[in-house]
């Protein structure tokens, strides 16, 4: 698989480390009501869809940036690659 890095262009997927579902960007608030259940869900439960999947890849053997890759889990076709930083900010994360 080739991942079209927004800054570096197409790179071999073997340069990256796979983390998992991009929902992991949204770590629960540990001080909120029901934080324990939220963390169990965050840590252990996954949607695991067959089809389009937004997922985190880390460019370990490159510029060490985190990417959000939208990839079809049935065909392995990659349709979108974004910087995880941009996605997180757009979705309301400030840090």
């Amino acid at each position: 698989m080739l991942i079209d890095h927004p800054l570096l262009g197409p790179r071999d997927a073997a340069e990256f480390v796979y983390k998992g579902d991009a929902a992991l960007i949204h770590r629960p608030d540990g001080l909120a009501e029901g934080a324990l259940d939220a963390f169990i869900e965050y840590g252990y439960l996954r949607d695991n869809p067959a089809g389009a999947h937004r997922e985190l890849w880390f460019h370990e053997q490159g510029d060490r940036s985190w990417l959000v890759v939208t990839r079809d889990t049935v065909t392995h076709e990659i349709t979108q690659v974004e910087m995880a930083r941009d996605v997180a900010r757009r979705e309301g994360r400030s840090r």
Binding site: M1, A13, Y18, G43, R46, N48, P49, A50, H76
Partner: protein, 416 residues
């Protein structure tokens, strides 16, 4: 019809006209006591043990495609019980004992071959870890023997013991481990279940569950509604997709694992060997092909095919321990979809819906577990209580901190 040597001779003399189908082709009845979803090894074994152990009942196995067309026909056929943790080892040893009596019991030649499995050791730290694991195996009634390099060379003279980076320092052997003809496991269980009255319904995809007042009363299928007192899901690889139809999210990611077979060779590899410094395992099929595999690809996939970096990694692992592998050509390679769970161990448990049960999360170790998985799942379905050897395989272990993490990797499924 009972299979026997006498029968083979009789059929040979009469033109092989007496062989009938091994199981009936049936249409679904309106309702059953038990409906098992998934006609793979585990689902068929579950139906067989339900019929054998837990009394007369109307039992059906519904399968989307044809039986044995999924992971039971896609694995590298290895059986063993060389686990360490208390939640696992008694279960896998129970499974190995069931393998040992399987063919006589099913009256089916599954080619169970206890040719032994050998885990190679490449460092002092690894020897310590393997000694510990071997002791845990022995404490649970399994067999384990620590072998010296000399003992290994006597049986496997072609191994590259003096590799500069990964020298072979010994090995942990389980002599009762080995291989089984994987397709025959599905067919043998199917035939034996059918002979006990189980309906095996192929080309019947489950499209949803009928859940009324928190109770599952049956399954919607491509061949109409089938009522059931109890429904058992048994579709490892596609568990998340199926259980989403019952409103569940699972502690599972689906990943692709590749396997390979070389061209047919004369007998060269008497047992199963595994590389301890990378991830590579290999045996020789009775047809002569070297059957081998390694790591999962490492990203979510339902594609049943993988990518080339893992092919390279697996072949490098093979070349590191037996360089003669480089003289053989790879004939075929394929992929299967694994339920990779959050701690690397399976789940056999009830769900939040009454009458709906779950069996899955087998990672890439499901084949060896087939008999015990079927037995334990049948026990759970019939009695409502977990089988003693499978009591740790609960859904809530992630919430209560009772993970069964053999490799100590944490909640990162692609590392198990």
């Amino acid at each position: 019809m009972r299979y026997s040597g006498f029968r083979v001779i009789r059929e040979a003399l009469t033109g092989h006209r007496g062989w009938g189908p091994a199981w009936r082709d049936v249409a679904p009845q309106p309702a059953y006591d038990y409906v098992i979803i998934g006609g793979g090894g585990h689902g068929l074994a579950t139906a067989y043990y339900l019929a054998r152990e837990f009394g007369e009942a109307r039992i059906a196995v519904v399968e989307k495609g044809w039986i044995g067309g999924g992971n039971v026909g896609r694995n590298t056929t290895i059986i063993r019980s060389n686990y360490m943790l208390d939640g696992n080892e008694p279960f896998y040893e129970f499974s190995l004992k069931l393998w040992e009596g399987l063919e006589q019991e099913l009256n089916y030649n599954a080619m169970v071959s206890q040719r032994g499995i050998l885990n190679l050791i490449h460092s002092d730290a690894q020897r310590d870890a393997f000694v510990r694991r071997g002791n845990a195996m022995i404490l649970n009634g399994a067999d384990a023997e620590l072998l010296s390099t000399e003992q290994i060379v006597a049986r496997y003279p072609f191994l590259n013991t003096d590799d500069a980076r990964f020298p072979i320092k010994g090995g942990l052997a389980q002599h009762r481990g080995g291989t089984v003809r994987h397709d025959a496991v599905a067919w043998g269980y199917a035939r034996a279940a059918d002979r006990r009255g189980v309906d095996i319904i192929q080309n019947c995809e489950v499209t949803g569950f009928r859940i009324e007042n928190g109770r599952c009363t049956g399954v919607e299928t491509s061949r109409g509604f089938i009522g059931a007192r109890k429904v058992g899901a048994c579709v490892a690889g596609s568990s998340s997709r199926l259980m989403a139809r019952a409103g569940m999210r699972l502690p599972i990611e689906s990943h692709v694992l590749q396997a390979f077979v070389s061209e047919g060779l004369k007998p060269v590899l008497p047992g199963v060997i595994t590389f301890g410094a990378g991830h590579f395992y290999c045996s020789q099929s009775d047809k002569g092909g070297l059957v081998f595999g390694g790591d999962i690809d490492g990203y979510n996939s339902y594609a049943q095919r993988g990518n080339l970096p893992v092919v390279e990694d697996v072949c490098e692992g093979g070349m590191a321990i037996f360089p003669m592998l480089g003289r053989a050509r790879i004939l075929r390679m394929w992929g299967g979809i694994m339920d990779m769970s959050m701690d690397g161990s399976p789940i056999i448990d009830r769900t939040h819906v009454d009458g709906l049960y779950f069996n899955g999360g087998w990672c890439y170790g499901g084949f060896k577990a087939t008999p015990a998985s079927g037995f334990a799942y049948a026990h759970l379905l019939a009695t409502g209580q977990p089988h003693p050897t499978a009591a740790a395989y609960r859904f809530d272990r992630f919430a209560t901190g009772r993970m069964i993490d053999e490799k100590g990797m944490g909640n990162q499924p692609n590392l198990h």
